[in-house]
Symmetry: C2
Subunit: 325 residues, 2 copies
Amino acid sequence: MTTKPTRVALIQMSCEPDPEVNLAKAAARCQEAAFAGATIICLPELFRAQYFCQREDHALFALTESIPGPSTAALAAIAREHNVVIIASLFERRAPGLYHNTAVTLDPASSAPDNIAGIYRKMHIPDDPLYYEKFYFTPGDLGFRALATSAGRVGTLVCWDQWYPEAARETALRGAETLFYPTAIGWHPAEKAEFGEAQYDAWQTIQRAHAIANGVFVCAVNRVGHELGDVLISGQLNRVPPTANEVLGMTGDFTAGPNPGLEFWGGSFIADPFGRILAQASHDHEEILTADLDPKLVETTRQHWPFLRDRRIDGYTGLTSRFID
Amino acid sequence: MTTKPTRVALIQMSCEPDPEVNLAKAAARCQEAAFAGATIICLPELFRAQYFCQREDHALFALTESIPGPSTAALAAIAREHNVVIIASLFERRAPGLYHNTAVTLDPASSAPDNIAGIYRKMHIPDDPLYYEKFYFTPGDLGFRALATSAGRVGTLVCWDQWYPEAARETALRGAETLFYPTAIGWHPAEKAEFGEAQYDAWQTIQRAHAIANGVFVCAVNRVGHELGDVLISGQLNRVPPTANEVLGMTGDFTAGPNPGLEFWGGSFIADPFGRILAQASHDHEEILTADLDPKLVETTRQHWPFLRDRRIDGYTGLTSRFID
């Protein structure tokens, strides 16, 4: 654990159909961030591919990889070369038929294969129109974790986890002082005009609240750009059928017709332990978002807003219930 | 449980030294709100007195009252007359030497004494410079509660509770669809210029996040005005010694000298189940803040943002720990 300021870099990027192109882009951006002094870098959720969960297709399990595997090998080389911690979100093949949405923390100080200091398997799995994640990802079975890295005590959570105060609290109680949320969230084009602003605002608000409730830094990194979910597999383009909505029997918010895709809203940000925005990315550009985090601010904030002191742990037994009828 | 829209009224008020004056003011404002069509009204925290917790003085236990008692009697008469639910925050005398910060829900449909449909005893008790609540209030022992009233399924929480996602979640899991937070929070005058905006923003942000996380309406009602904590007891003015900070041995943020008091920041608000602000009060005026809440919006929002569906109740066992070392 370090007490010197940490320079975080979040790689807000767009994703191409070819996974190799995305890995090369991510690697190049990590190098760029390291040259700019970053001590810890976080990539967006599942950056190796366009967001394929827009449909359910068994062929897409070809995107999975082992951990350690080719992505951790490529990124660990950069982590070692620049002495920087890298957090990568990968589609993990754990066993035949068992796949996870996994965040891997690579730390040059770790002697494990590919410098893997820790992994976290996404606990909360969404399932909504065009976000069919329950088809692909087995819910995590490692629980919530914190990790002492060369760049501070961190916790990794993934996307849908960000809507759960329980996830942030569990991770903070394990000692994490900075929470990272690799993310892939965007607007349904048909909804954006009416609901887009409120959706982004809710997304940022609840994560700022995790910072406030726990006195921790929060770093959310999202992809950007409009995607139809095109993925190159063995030289073949796999894409959503043009009448996907019709095929999938979707009704209500969505009209049958050409696949509208998703407009990923970027808007990556870094919040301090009182929820103040330290750095804010755009909604429509690739960028590397950086901020210097002073770990002393965690303790100072918690002394002035001593929420951890006053938790009524005797009164929270209902939290492990689905509902209290 | 009703399915018709609920009209909430929040009584943002200032408090005088004389408790009887405050009770009369509160009663008059409740009547005014009822005439304007309110079906449920919430008063600010401990509205019967100026915020006396600015010092520790045994004489101030004279402010306590039983429940049922004089305040519930006065307010229940109004509740019955106008067929309206009233939520009142009182300094409860439960037994000699045992006092609570208690929210009482008065519902004309209840046949209990003073139409008391339910009480909630503040679970999280703060203790900070000028907020010496641990001296006065025994932490609640009733846990978190929801209540089916004539004006919908509600949960009452109190002030410091608002910083705890656990409290909101527990209350929502018990069926509350609207959370009420009677509050007394303000700025230390010496801090306001530097931190005031961030403090109010954090306070509102974390409560909007409770709305989002749980798909519930959130109604926060605060007092307004600068107070030295003057309280009239048996015709005698009880006030903070002019050099209170010195007497209390306070250092750091506070300079010894005349008691600076607290500037209560008002800013009461009503948020919908996606955290959008439906009504927003000023920082410096008394006002009655109203909004019409459609209970159908709770279910619609939860269908579109199905956070309750995906909670990992098997993974939250750490939440009942103080810290996970």
